[in-house]
């Protein structure tokens, strides 16, 4: 029983999409100052990281080789100061980045939730709840990761790699050339790896979605499963998805196991080349030993971003997919637009008129065909008829849960399309066919959190609905 509906979730597009990125960045705009601080400290931290090996180099070449203990003490002091400053820089950068991301994501989350609250019921018929939840919670979380790890991480990596390359060239261009010789090959290998990793990642998400959908369903329907004795069947179905998921991930384990050690080997190769060539230069007295030492430290630092590359790529890709889905959702206009008249009656008398009302849930399949009737204020009207006759649909149309195709519904002589949706519904008391209660206490369910409802009103309503709760006396509502 695979629901085709969650396939949409699995489309993973590009890792970078300028149009989406611009739109994501718009959410950062209100926090531009915070972001600027974050980027400044990112730069400072990068600089401090570049400075460490350089101080070592100077200490070795100028003071150790130059036999100057006092100078060495100075260098040690500078090194320590650099370490401590690095701490401050990194902390400020981490904190501001996270803060920016979290604030922007909260705005986005609230925007999505608000958007959902104003969709018509037809929208909820089309979109399974699980998927909408993924939009509001998981997709936003993924996008947040894009900020804290993805984008800022990539910028940091870029700074570091460029900074190191620049520092190397500045120290000694010949050694820089030797050290960076392996770099293009590494980039090629990591591209190859990235492609594999991406395929596995895509597939794993696909299987995971199926796994989770099955999981949710079998927990929600556990009563039915147990009553029908289908525990084994559900388990077998779960097991097949579970095994498939495991096997996909085992593939990724193998790719990783090849790639990461390979990077280590390349790093060692670079150092070997450096030593060989650097050693000759030292013998020729062309450079001092400290330069080689600094180079070794730089090379070790340079390979870190490459190790993380695939992971960051996956984060970027997942985030782009999440963004795409979130924006698609946000771009779905509320099918029922709210264009209330300027003046609405203060009190509602409760006169209802249906004039040739047509309604269909799916195009071409009308459930109401030309309904017309009139209800005077204070009148009690019963709607009867077999199932599927359209009783609930009349109520749904009156509540404006669905937009009618043709005709008009008037409340107190005013077309409901000119009523403020919420003002209209506030005057309706509706008991639905499928009773839905919220978790929490009984009072919360009766008032639905409407603080304007007084306690007396609440108790009166409960009495009239003949709510007799056996334990109500002990705990109150």
């Amino acid at each position: 029983m695979i629901d085709e509906s969650f396939r949409e979730d699995e489309i993973l597009g590009k890792a970078y999409d300028a149009r989406l990125m611009v739109r994501i960045l718009r959410y950062l705009q209100p926090y531009a100052a915070l972001l600027a601080i974050s980027l400044t400290f990112l730069l400072l931290h990068t600089a401090s990281q570049l400075l460490g090996p350089y101080i070592t180099k100077v200490a070795i070449d100028r003071y150790i080789a130059g036999n100057d203990p006092a100078g060495l003490d100075w260098m040690v002091g500078a090194y320590l100061a650099n370490v401590l400053l690095g701490f401050v820089f990194l902390f400020v950068q981490t904190y501001t980045t996270e803060s920016t991301g979290q604030r922007a994501m909260q705005d986005l989350r609230i925007e999505i939730f608000t958007h959902l609250q104003h969709q018509d019921i037809a929208f909820f018929d089309r979109h399974p709840i699980g998927r909408l939840m993924t939009r509001t919670i998981n997709d936003v979380e993924t996008l947040n990761e894009l900020f804290s790890t993805g984008v800022v991480g990539l910028v940091a990596d870029l700074f570091i790699v460029c900074g190191i390359a620049a520092a190397m060239v500045w120290l000694d261009w010949r050694l820089a050339l030797v050290s960076l010789a392996g770099f293009p090959l590494i980039l090629y290998i990591s591209r190859f790896y990235r492609r594999r990793a991406r395929d596995v990642y895509r597939q794993s998400r696909l299987v995971l979605a199926r796994l989770n959908a099955g999981l949710q369903e079998s927990i929600a329907g556990i009563g039915t499963v147990q009553a029908f004795g289908q525990e084994e069947k559900m388990l077998a179905r779960f097991r097949s998805a579970n095994t498939e998921y495991r096997d996909v991930l085992l593939r990724s384990v193998r790719y990783n196991a090849v790639f990461f050690p390979l990077i280590e080997i390349f790093s060692a190769l670079s150092i070997g080349l450096l030593l060989f060539y650097g050693g000759r230069l030292i013998l020729d007295n062309a450079i001092q030993a400290g330069v080689v030492v600094a180079f070794i430290q730089y090379i070790q630092r340079m390979y870190q971003p490459i190790r993380d590359l695939a992971e960051k790529y996956n984060i970027m890709q997942a985030a782009m997919a999440s963004a795409e889905r979130i924006f698609t959702l946000l771009d779905t206009p509320a099918a029922i637009s709210n264009r209330p008249l300027a003046k609405l009656p203060e009190t509602v008398r409760g006169e209802i008129a249906f004039r040739d009302v047509w309604l269909s849930y799916r195009p071409g399949e009308p459930v109401l065909r030309g309904i017309s009737f009139h209800v005077a204020p204070g009148e009690k009207v019963a709607l009867v008829g077999p199932t599927g006759a359209g009783k609930t649909s009349i109520v749904a149309a009156l509540c404006r849960f669905y937009e009618i195709d043709r005709g008009a519904i008037l409340v107190d002589g005013i077309d409901i399309r000119h009523w403020d949706k919420q003002a209209l519904r506030r005057h309706l008391g509706l008991v639905l066919q499928d009773v839905f209660l919220f978790s929490g206490d009984i009072a919360g369910n009766i008032t639905l959190g409407d603080s304007r409802i007084e306690r007396e009103q609440l108790l009166d309503a409960a009495r009239r609905a003949r709510c007799r709760f056996r334990r109500a006396a002990a705990t109150g509502l």
Partner: protein, 558 residues
């Protein structure tokens, strides 16, 4: 591991003038060989340990799921779906990280630490001692932050699940929210929850933001010590420059394992907490219904079975009693109608009969023996059940009808659908029985869902049919049509028919009237009418209502 050592050789060779360029070639080559060897071992480790952790993850998930399937329903009333989902996804993942990354990192770290330190000692024991001074403080920092980070990550996780639960509930009840114009209210509540989540996340970020840089500072202090003392030794000529560089190299190699310790502590604590949460699920005893292995004398369920409730009293968990002293019998092949107000305990009767909830010993008898003596398989095979709140699975109509059936011949599906009066509706769908009905049967109307559930129960041709208010969303005429179609096969099954309408049960062999969990009347339709009691009252009221409806119909409501 040999890398810094070889670097030392390389530098010393270059500096202290072994003029043969042979050694200049030798050291880089040795470095490469050492790296290749290390790479090979790392590959083996990774494949084995990560692979192992993935397999464990799948096994663990499998085990928890299998256990979950057999937990008593009262457990699912207590624990939210979202919470269980998070245990099966996030917690299982946390355990995997502990076993995979955690164990790999700790092994890797230990090996590197042991080798680095021993090689450092061979270069200069005193310098090693001095540079290691900062190390105990790393342990202290890791312990302190580990504890707090763990606590706060738990808080944020809980807040995130609260947020998810709120969204889930809001979306499930969106009709109610909109009908009562409570959107703004719910948005405000969402905003509050979301802000709380952000604040908690920021605390966590602050802790991490101090923790990582602090680790780097401690590593940096060690490097400072080496630069200072080591530099002096080189100046004094007690250490070669190559040794000094190698020493620095080892120290740099130690930085990562020290941080890995931090990582591992974190993933260890999360993993243990996750294991604890999974343990909670696994330690919850399975429903007693799965513990009965076989009937005493290997008896088979008679077809149809007789049913008896013998002085049955029942309460959910430690709630108030729902049923008190209920006693009545249904002879094999008879139909028993049960009526009564909402909350009178009708559904509970059906649920204890199926042993979805556990009745006291000897109070519910099926086929002459305690329902608790039947192996659950036997009971499930015999029973067909339509519950009050119908749950359908995503998939096609056919798959749903065949949910509990052993074999799936199309005629049987069609027959069941015909009896349940679902066939006309199915014909209207383009794809017929192969129509997918969406999550929880979203494409079907309330009445269609109930009729699909009825077909699902009937396709099993059950010896014991339990209909718990199965016609609530079906109008009186359809109800009658269904009952008429059910008749021919009725003789061969015992039926428990719980209904709101007296008209549904009037043909039953025995009718039981429940009020506040006790039987107040029982007998046949005619007997009960003669008594002029509660059943008579209900019957009169409903007949009157139908007549009014009939009058309105004749008047031709516009």
């Amino acid at each position: 591991m040999a890398l810094p050592w070889l670097v030392k050789g390389g530098i010393d060779a270059a500096l202290y003038g072994q003029p043969a360029s042979g050694s200049l070639v030798k050291f880089p080559l040795l470095i490469l060989a050492a790296a290749a060897l290390q790479g090979f071992f790392r590959y083996c480790w990774r494949v084995n340990i990560h692979g192992f952790s993935r397999r464990c993850e799948a096994d663990l998930r499998d085990r928890v799921f299998a256990h979950l399937q057999r937990l008593p329903l009262s457990y699912f009333n207590r624990v939210k779906t979202g919470d269980l989902m998070s245990r099966l996804t996030n917690d299982v993942q946390a355990v995997r990280e502990l076993m995979g990354f955690g164990s790999l990192a700790i092994v890797d770290a230990l090996v590197v630490i042991v080798f680095s330190i021993s090689l450092m000692i061979t270069i200069d024991p005193w310098l090693t001692l001095w540079s290691m001074l900062a190390m105990p403080s790393i342990t202290v920092v890791v312990r302190f932050f580990g504890r707090h980070i763990f606590r706060w990550s738990r808080h944020t996780q809980e807040q995130l699940s609260a947020l998810s639960a709120f969204v889930q509930e809001n979306l499930s009840g969106i009709r109610v929210v909109q009908a009562y114009a409570q959107e703004a209210n719910h948005i405000a509540r969402f905003r509050r929850l979301s802000s709380e989540y952000r604040e908690k996340t920021m605390w966590l970020a602050t802790l991490w933001g101090i923790f990582w840089p602090l680790m780097q500072v401690l590593a940096g202090i060690a490097a400072t010590i080496v630069l200072w003392l080591g530099g002096r030794q080189v100046l004094q000529g007690t250490m070669t420059l190559g040794e000094f560089v190698a020493f620095n190299g080892y120290l740099a190699m130690l930085t990562w394992p020290m941080m890995a310790v931090g990582y591992v502590v974190n993933s260890y604590q999360r993993g243990v907490a996750a294991l604890e949460r999974l343990g909670e699920v696994l330690d919850t005893p399975v429903s007693p219904r799965y513990r009965t292995a076989a009937t005493p004398a290997g008896r088979r369920m008679p077809v149809p079975p007789a049913v008896e409730f013998r002085n049955l009293s029942f309460a959910y968990d430690d709630g108030p009693p729902v049923l008190t002293g209920v006693s009545f019998k249904i002879a094999a092949g008879q139909t028993c109608g049960i009526v009564g107000e909402t909350g009178s305990g009708k559904s509970t009767l059906a649920q204890v009969l199926l042993r979805l909830y556990e009745p006291p010993d000897g109070s519910v008898l099926v086929g002459g023996i305690d329902v608790k003596s039947w192996p659950v398989r036997e009971l499930q095979r015999a029973a067909g059940f339509v519950s009050q709140d119908v749950f359908l699975f995503s998939g096609t109509i056919r798959e749903n009808i065949l949910f509990g059936a052993e074999d799936g011949a199309l005629e049987r599906v069609e027959h069941a659908a015909r009896v349940a009066q679902l066939l006309p509706a199915i014909r209207e769908f383009g794809a017929g029985f192969e129509t997918t009905i969406g999550e929880r049967g979203a494409r079907l109307s309330g009445g269609q869902k109930q009729r699909a559930a009825l077909a699902r129960a009937l396709v099993k041709d059950p010896a014991l049919l339990i209909l718990d208010d199965a016609f609530s969303s079906v109008d009186a005429e359809t109800e009658e049509a269904i009952l008429r179609a059910l008749k021919p096969a009725m003789r061969n099954r015992t039926t428990l028919l719980i209904a709101q309408r007296a008209s549904a049960v009037r043909d039953a062999d025995v009718i039981v009237y429940l009020r506040a969990g006790a039987v107040i009347e029982q007998g046949t339709h005619d007997q009960l009418l003669k008594r002029r009691g509660a059943y008579w009252e209900l019957y009169q009221k409903q007949r009157l209502m139908r007549e009014v409806e009939g009058m309105i119909d004749q008047d031709g409501l516009p």
